[in-house]
């Protein structure tokens, strides 16, 4: 048993919905935004024997576990991707969902 499921609130929710969703969020700097980190890594790769490297862009990758139903959560998730997880002025985000799997029965 994972420690967080001992929390009565969390376990009540997960029993109710009976499913757990894994979401991956990819946040990348927009093309127009200078990415000095990416440029530094690109230059290092070229110096280390790969002159073929044209460009490197560095973003963020987040893994999020969620208890709840897919359909109802998705609009809220997109809202948080826009408001918190990315800044639309400088970044684009991509939300990838894994198929919701029924929670494994504990042995």
């Amino acid at each position: 048993m994972k420690p967080e499921s001992r929390n009565p609130l969390v376990s009540a929710v997960s029993r109710k919905y009976g499913e757990k969703m894994k979401v991956k969020v990819l946040v990348m700097p927009k093309a127009a935004v200078l990415d000095p980190q990416g440029n530094a890594v690109r230059d290092a790769m070229r110096h280390l024997g790969m002159p073929e490297v044209c460009s490197v862009r560095i973003g963020k990758y987040m893994e999020i576990d969620i208890d709840g139903e897919n359909g109802e959560l998705e609009p809220r998730l997109h809202g948080l991707c826009r408001d918190l997880l990315s800044n639309p002025v400088i970044e684009d985000y991509e939300l990838q969902k894994e198929k919701p799997a029924k929670r494994k029965r504990s042995k």
Binding site: L34, P36, L84, N87, V89
Partner: protein, 242 residues
Amino acid sequence: MKFAVIQFPGSNCDQDCVAAINGIAGLKAEYIWHKETSLDNFDAIVLPGGFAYGDYLRCGAIARFSPIMRAVTSDARAGKLVLGTCNGFQILCEAGLLPGALVRNRSLRFVCDMVTTRVEVDDFPFTQGCPKGTLLRMPVAHGEGCFFADAETLRNLNDNRQVILRYADSRGRIVPESNPNGSIENIAGICNRERNVFGLMPHPDRASDARLGSADGAKIFRSMMQTISANSAISERTKQVA
């Protein structure tokens, strides 16, 4: 006249701001914890520098959701003067009170240096007594101070005279060598369309005493005081007329 200095977890220039403001006769600064919800008793709001919420995710990204930010936003919309320095500027951009964003310095280095900025407009509420072309020397200390805005936003900023400060050399020329972080068009400070919210990367709070190398920062706090007393004089007169 009372100024609120907001303390977020991770703010570290709150004391500098309070000291700088209290150093000006007629001004009194108070710390306001970020979990407070009202700023009704204050004439102006200052968001200090630091690393609110450890700058996790992005600078200012989490701080903008602090409870006090609702009051900051509604008071800003009502016309109260709001000043954001360094991390405070980043928070104002994240909160959408100022356009654009602040990203990693082009050099990838944290810059900690004295810079010269040039005032770009006349008659701005935060730079009264500093006509266009005035040079202000203030320190910068940041890793993410490179101002970015897309082409349309930048055009609007210039057309509406919202660019208030640009990094300049000692003779007041806007040159690439005087740009400490790679900001577009050497932008160091901007305001909103209504001109009552001002964000800048340099620290006026750390340049408010000649013994610290410059007292130019105090001009910004003094100008805020002038603007507020002028505004209240106007509203008094309107009340009397009515």
